[in-house]
């Protein structure tokens, strides 16, 4: 392309004006100007449309302005000066490719899509891309939606969360250990603020006290006898937990410590909100600082929502409280504690009988290929007691 003449004074002034306006807007460089916008800004440099038009054209020629169409109206947006200089040196193909990548903004564009849209020789596209990449005008990023496809975007852009998947993605893959760590941390934090504990020592009885799930479980007895002796009342009354024990010799200790979970009086406090949890998470040392800094409140809210769906947290007012009986792993504890995670599924009348989980439920019936008599699941159920 022919070398450009130097930028004219009024052109430069207009460009500066537009850049300033763009910077002041929330969209930044993505700010688009319609003709009327430019006219307004350009009152100093150009008196009317006739004078304005060549100026704009000049800026476009210098690649300082980018022409595009929005809702059928022409509009322009600004480019940084150094990018403009670099672009000026490109050939036509490269310019075309660049403009497509530029249009894709933070979302990026697939290589394949690029080839299709530009409608030029695929090899030429590849060549152009290489050159642009080497010139640090564009870069390739990993897109979680299509990990196999190469996605390109302008070099200076930060890929949107759509592309990276946000903080919970590590190079395009879901970072489950981070989510898990964070969940535990949140439960820990919320638990400490939402229930009080009392500890009572008692002499270990011959029979070990029933584990939490049995004592607490509303349905264990299936609504059978609900004897409520005053002595079992306290145990029954709140989630009781046997103290977490690390050393084995503790078991010889004749006393056991029972931690009873006490509710805090209603309306006496604000339970931690997502914002509060976020500020705890980002200031604690438990999460790698670089990771923590990235976490947004919305992302924390997302984890919290999942914990609510998992019945680990419950919403109280504007904040959250742990669901009664929910425990966290002691910080730094690495063992496998899934079994104690309250995951024991107790089910209901239907799912406890084999029919409730039967693979041939639909087929089963009197006179059918299977029936209650020929059924093998019942036999097993009656024998195993489950």
């Amino acid at each position: 392309m022919a070398t450009l003449t130097k930028l004219s004074g009024p052109g430069d002034a207009l460009y500066t004006e537009l850049c300033k306006a763009a910077q002041n807007s929330i969209e930044g460089l993505r700010k688009v100007f319609f003709q009327s916008d430019i006219e307004q800004l350009a009152t100093d440099t150009a008196r009317d449309k006739k004078e304005l038009l060549p100026l704009v054209q000049e800026l476009v020629n210098h690649s300082l302005l980018r022409l595009s169409k929005l809702d059928r109206a022409l509009c322009w947006s600004t480019r940084p000066r150094d990018a403009a200089t670099a672009i000026s040196r490109l050939n036509a193909d490269e310019k075309l490719v660049y403009s497509y990548v530029e249009d894709a903004h933070q979302k990026g564009i697939w290589l394949r899509e690029l080839k299709k849209r530009t409608n030029i020789n695929p090899n030429a596209v590849t060549k152009a891309m290489n050159k642009l990449e080497n010139a640090h005008l564009i870069k390739s990023v990993k897109n979680i939606r299509a990990p196999a496809q190469k996605t390109y975007m302008l070099y200076h852009l930060v890929p949107s969360d759509d592309v990276t998947g946000g903080s919970f993605f590590d190079a395009g893959d879901l970072d489950e250990s981070l989510i898990d760590e964070l969940s535990n941390l949140i439960i820990f934090h919320v638990r400490m603020q939402s229930w009080a504990d009392t500890k009572t020592k008692r002499i270990k009885r011959e029979t070990t006290p029933p584990p939490l799930t049995a004592a607490d479980d509303p349905d264990t007895a299936g609504g059978k006898k609900r004897k409520r002796g005053p002595t079992t009342d306290i145990e029954d009354s709140a989630a009781t937990t046997r103290k977490y024990r690390l050393s084995a010799y503790d078991t010889d200790d004749p006393t056991i410590e029972i931690i009873t979970q006490l509710a805090l009086p209603a309306y006496s406090r604000a339970y931690p909100s997502a914002e509060a949890i976020h500020s705890f998470i980002t200031t604690t040392d438990a999460i790698r600082a670089s990771k923590a800094a990235q976490l947004t409140v919305a992302e924390i809210q997302n984890v919290v929502d999942v914990l609510v769906w998992d019945d680990k947290l419950e919403k109280i007012g504007d904040g959250y409280r742990t669901v009664r009986g929910i425990k966290f792993r002691p910080p730094g504890f690495l063992g496998d504690e899934e079994a104690e995670d309250g995951d024991k599924v107790e089910g209901n009348g239907l799912t406890q009988v084999p029919c409730g989980r039967c693979p041939v439920f639909e087929l089963c019936g009197e006179g059918g290929p299977v029936n209650a008599g020929s059924c093998v699941y019942w036999g097993r159920w009656l024998k195993e007691g489950a």
């Binding site: 879901l174 349905d219 805090l264 999942v306 769906w309 419950e314 009988v353 209650a372």
Partner: protein, 648 residues
Amino acid sequence: MAQNLAELCIVLIENSLGELSAQIFATLAEHGRLTVHTLAEHAKIPLRRVRTGLTNLMEEQLVLHFAAEEGAPTFYSVNWRNAYNLARHTNIAELVNDRHGEHAADMVGNILQLGHARVGDLADAYDLQPASKRDSGIDTTADHMTEEGLVNGIAKTSSAKASHDMSTSEFHSTLRALLRSGVLVKVGTRAYMPPSDLQEQIEEAVIIDQFPDRKVTGPKKQSEFKLAINVLKRKWREDDAYSDLHDVGSRGAIKRPGDHFKTENKRIKVNGGHANGVLHDGEQSTTKLSDDLVVRVDFSRCTMAMRSRRLEQHAKRYLGGVTAAVYGALLQTLEGKVRAVHDDLAPDNSDDEESTLPCSTISEVAEILDPTIDLGASIKGLPGDKTLTNGTNGKKRHDEFGDFGIKRELSDSEDEPTTNGYTGYRDRAKRLSAIEAHLALLEEHARHFCKRTRAHGSNEWRVDFPALNATLIEAELDATILARYGKLALRVVRLLRERGKLEEKQVASCAMMRIKDVRAILTELQFHGILEAQELPKDNARQPSRTLYLWFFDTFRVQHLFLQQTYKGMARTMQRIPVERERYRTVIEKAERTDVKGREQEKLEQPEKQALREWREAEERLLAQVDRMDQMVALLRDFSGKDTSLTT
């Protein structure tokens, strides 16, 4: 009609009445209304046997009969609700046991078996002295079938009576308590008519009475007509309702209208005084019920009690046993105030749901709350004051509310005189504020278990049953999904329920799961009918690859699905019982031989005893499971009171 329900009902009837009745019921279920003759034809059973079977079914009110007019042929049709209710007997007895004690449970059990019972016959069955020989002339016209039915029934019950020695006064006071609490109701003549026919009769009566020109069309007339019908319906129902005043046997202690019935026998016993100074036959005086009073169990009322219990259990899961107990007491106080769950006469124009919900005061709750519970134990900062538990309220309570199902032992053990004055007052205030703290906790919870009426400071509380019922249903569906498909599936379901229709990518990001895992779960749940996907083609070509799938969870649909599955599960469980019995047949038969019966210990070999025990255990486990599934049915179908799937 729902085939699963029909199958279940047939199994239930076969189990309680035998094959003949089951067969007749099955035929009626299939064909609808039939006369005896067509029935015999369809069922291919001799007419005489059909009549026997029908009689049995009618005694238990499993079949309705109605003739359009005098002399017209009688038609028979099934009563779905009553048939299904056979599965609820154990749960009801259980409930009555919890609230009113063993004797009451036993009596209710018997009445359940009989369908309905004359008080006199029931008393005979318990081998009590007849309460009243003289006819009290009360308009309890028992159906002619009743007497006949009772003969059989009593044979069944009389074997049990040996173990229960109940005094006449105990018998009557228990009965009265049950009647007052609504567990039992008086049976009127109209109970045997199919509801649709009853409706016709009412309409006819209203027309003759108020619309002689028979014109009931036009919006104004229509609404007047409807109103008149409801008024009459209510009146008929009230005619049929039990009243403390009218259903008293003439020789029982006479109650004056102003006499508060609650100051009943407990007080009398303690003081050794005579209530109203009337004493009969050297027995404690209790108002005796008319022998001719016919009573039955009110299932809808019991369903309500089941709902209370379920809600209490739900609260316990989230807030612990003490708070749940307080909640249970609140719910129980409300039961008496809520109109029957199945009340179709409640005014429809209740835009203001709020104001139609009944409410209770904290002191009402205090009165029926078990005084041995340490109210302070589960909330931080409340005094776990032991003196509270021995406080005065318990005592007073029993005198006033002995009929609300307080455990007998408690009231009997409280011999200390009522503490009066300052300490009593202070303890009571403490107790009330502790109760209030628990109620506030329940209100604060995301499920809003209860609500303070009006603004802060009021001491009246109400429970938003429709909303909580939805909560219970969701929780039940969740429990089923969790147990079947795991916690990740539950997460997906709950997020879809909350967020509405979502695309698979959105689901993945909300659930923080990998897309391929999400996809697997979505398809599995769709396969089982839990989730549905709406197709949204991106263009007109409707290619699958260019189609968006929006996933969603339809609570109502899944609720219905699980209900049907529960029916089916119950049927299969019931069907397994005879299969198991067959396996142990030789032992069972031996144990039932007359020379062995009652002397199993000596007559049976060790392995035989072992086998017998195994059989009993197996049967018990199967039946227990049926009970638990019935609880599910109650929750999914009956708690809302809006279900119409069982109306004939």
